[in-house]
């Protein structure tokens, strides 16, 4: 989502650990004080947040599922209005909830950054959580006398650019909502950025974070959004100023992207960078998708409403000629090429199509 006018006022950091040898929980380390970043550190932190959750990011919108009094969404709903003296203690409850959710030894520890602030115009509140895995790296050191460069090994490094090594969640207060509604989904938009969700078949690996910890689930609107994605992309391809065979390739790609690709999320920017060679076409496409009302970041894929559409690729020609083929095999079995046909009275050739079907005829009527 578009994080306009992002402003962060409170940051507090706790540490969580991997389960011990016997699979027991290790109590997280609590901080009592707020972290004060200087201006450039704050700017870099904002950069991490907008790269993870902002416009064009791979974050997906989630729906709040667990709304009981001791569930995380309820805690966040309370924390957002807490004064500065009670907020740190509540934020530690978040670290404890993450520790509870990390039920296997395979899940690494790391730090939990809890931060709050405002975004948008007029400004609306939000609360963010980052779980950053600790990794190692090097720091450059220059000898002042000799100017020799050496590397100092640093065991714990956090929040380097790139979103692979941290998971981010943001609870964003909606611009307008019914204050009497008991459904937290009416008040909050939840965005989750997790590299594992986007990975092929990554749902299971990511589940401890978005579901067990955050108490969220995939939105029920996914099937509708996926259908809209398919329609708007088809429309864009149809209007593209490219030869018919290339359009056919792009439509094949769309089918592959939605049907064959095993990633559980899709996004316009990912489709653009994968299948449009030309950068300006990529930009025109993402703009078109934005204007069609599709999310400007990733969303969870659900092809329920377009399953039958994706089953077959159909191509219609003048003279009521049609060919149909299963979409999985279309690309391999059929090649389409535009050729010059007979000349008309003015001497310009008619546009014909040459089709090769790499198989024999099985039946004719």
């Amino acid at each position: 989502m578009q994080l306009l006018n992002l402003n962060i006022d409170r940051i507090i950091i706790h540490q969580v650990y991997r389960r011990d040898q016997d699979g027991n929980k290790v109590t997280p380390t609590q901080s009592h004080e707020y972290t004060n970043f200087d201006q450039s550190a704050m700017e870099a932190f904002k950069t991490r947040v907008k790269d993870a959750l902002g416009d064009g990011s791979k974050a997906v919108q989630m729906e709040i599922v667990n709304q009981e009094s001791n569930d995380l969404p309820t805690l966040i709903n309370q924390m957002i209005v807490q004064e500065d003296d009670t907020f740190p203690a509540s934020s530690y409850d978040i670290a404890k909830k993450l520790t509870d959710a990390q039920q296997t030894k395979s899940i690494p520890g790391g730090i939990v950054v809890v931060f709050s602030g405002s975004q948008g115009h007029p400004a609306k509140k939000f609360l963010g959580i980052i779980k950053a895995e600790v990794h190692s790296g090097y720091e450059k050191e220059v000898d002042k006398k000799t100017n020799e460069i050496s590397l100092k090994f640093v065991e714990e490094i956090l929040l380097t650019p790139g979103t692979r090594l941290y998971k981010t969640a943001g609870f964003f207060e909606k611009a307008n909502y019914d204050e009497h509604s008991s459904d937290l989904n009416d008040k909050w938009t939840v965005m989750v950025s997790d590299y594992q969700i986007n990975k092929a078949d990554g749902k299971a690996a990511a589940q401890y974070f978005y579901s067990d910890f955050l108490g969220c689930g995939y939105p029920q609107t996914s099937a509708r959004t996926t259908k809209q994605f398919h329609e708007s992309t088809s429309l864009f391809i149809d209007k593209l100023n490219v030869p018919a065979p290339e359009k056919s390739n792009l439509l094949n790609a769309l089918t592959t992207y939605l049907k064959v690709d095993t990633s559980s999320t899709i996004s316009a920017s990912e489709f653009a960078s994968k299948y449009f060679d030309d950068i300006d076409t990529q930009d025109a496409y993402t703009s078109h998708m934005k204007d069609s009302g599709l999310p400007d970041n990733a969303f969870t894929k659900d092809i329920e409403h377009i399953e039958s559409k994706l089953q077959f690729r159909k191509v219609n020609f003048g003279g009521n000629v049609k060919i149909t083929a299963p979409s999985e095999t279309f690309k391999d079995l059929i090649t389409i090429e535009t050729i010059e046909g007979d000349l008309d009275e003015s001497g310009t050739p008619a546009e014909w199509t040459k089709i090769i079907i790499k198989n024999r005829i099985t039946k004719q009527e």
Binding site: M1, K50, G54, D55, G56, S57, D283
Partner: protein, 329 residues
């Protein structure tokens, strides 16, 4: 009027002519500054007025062999003169426009090289623009009354035309011996070359200043939009020129309208404050180009990232303002 009466009158009139010369120079330079010209750059020599030297005035009035004046004192109109030297032919047009539009005087456009070319297309000789300016009605400048009959000659030339004039005036007219035809021919050749070079200069400047950016008045319109949004005047710098150069393909007649309609949305109202807050952090915030970059981030992000001519860190603050993810992994 005999020679001594002539000299006497000239002596007593000098302060009036000085005052008129000064008034003419001040009025023209002020008008040029009002049109945004930096006089130190625009004028290649400082603008000054000058009274005609006593000796050459008398010489002109009484001793010129091929020209007899019936009323030399009033017929000689260059008793005070001012000269404006500029680089380009187009700059001459600008000064002519200032002179012809000013309400302070009546003007007589007595010489223009373009007319001379029409009249004598085969002749390559002294080129300049001359005006004779007289007050429209009697005026008082610093306690000196300047009557309508007082005239001042204004000459306007390019640097190259001026170089030619200097050579011919000093070396030819004042030559101590008869000038050989060969010398005249060489001077004419150099004038032909000067006219050609002036044309080349003009065409170079026009080519430098033509492109979609100028054609659609993008910078001027964007400056206006920036002023509207922030209340601050934009200062276009070299960094902007580099950006416009790199993204020229994104410029069309609708660009500024598109940027404007993006900003009209009230969710962007905060940008005015953001730009002011970050004004000293990063030079882009001081230039109207920042609005173009915001628009690119929203509508043409991949093109922006792939052609961005500076280090990536310079773009990041703008991406933070709009909450746009620029990381691809």
């Amino acid at each position: 009027m005999n020679e001594s009466e002539f000299k006497e009158k000239w002596e007593s009139d000098k302060p009036v002519y000085r005052a008129w010369g000064e008034y003419v120079v001040n009025t023209i330079t002020q008008d040029l500054e009002g049109r945004g010209k930096n006089l130190n750059e625009f004028l290649k020599t400082p603008a000054k007025y000058r009274l005609k030297d006593d000796g050459s005035l008398v010489d002109k009035a009484f001793y010129r062999p091929n020209k007899k004046y019936s009323d030399p004192y009033n017929q000689i109109e260059d008793k005070v003169g001012a000269r404006f030297i500029v680089l380009l032919l187009d700059d001459i047009k600008e000064i002519c426009d200032v002179i012809e539009k000013s309400p302070a005087w009546s003007f007589d456009a007595c010489k223009h090289f373009d007319e001379d070319k029409e009249k004598d297309p085969l002749l390559f000789t002294y080129q300049s623009v001359h005006y004779i300016l007289k007050p429209k009605k009697e005026i008082v400048v610093q306690d000196i009354t300047i009557p309508e009959s007082i005239s001042c000659e204004v000459q306007i030339r390019t640097l190259l035309q001026h170089a030619h004039a200097e050579l011919t005036h000093d070396a030819i007219y004042k030559a101590k011996r008869t000038v050989q035809p060969k010398v005249h021919r060489t001077v004419a050749k150099s004038m032909a070359l000067i006219e050609t070079t002036d044309d080349f200069f003009t065409s170079v400047t026009q080519q430098l200043n033509s492109g979609p950016l100028e054609e659609h008045g993008v910078i001027e319109r964007l400056d206006g939009l920036y002023l509207n949004v922030t209340g601050i005047k934009s200062h276009t710098q070299k960094s902007s020129i580099v950006i416009w150069d790199v993204f020229e393909q994104c410029i069309d007649e609708n660009l500024v309208d598109n940027i404007q309609s993006q900003l009209i949305n009230s969710k962007y109202d905060f940008l005015s404050e953001t730009i002011k807050k970050r004004y000293t952090e990063n030079a882009f915030y001081q230039q109207s180009t920042v609005l173009f970059l915001y628009w690119m981030l929203e509508r043409k992000k991949q093109r922006l990232l792939s052609n961005w001519p500076f280090q990536h860190e310079l773009l990041e603050p703008l991406a933070v303002d709009l909450g746009v993810s620029t990381w691809a992994d």
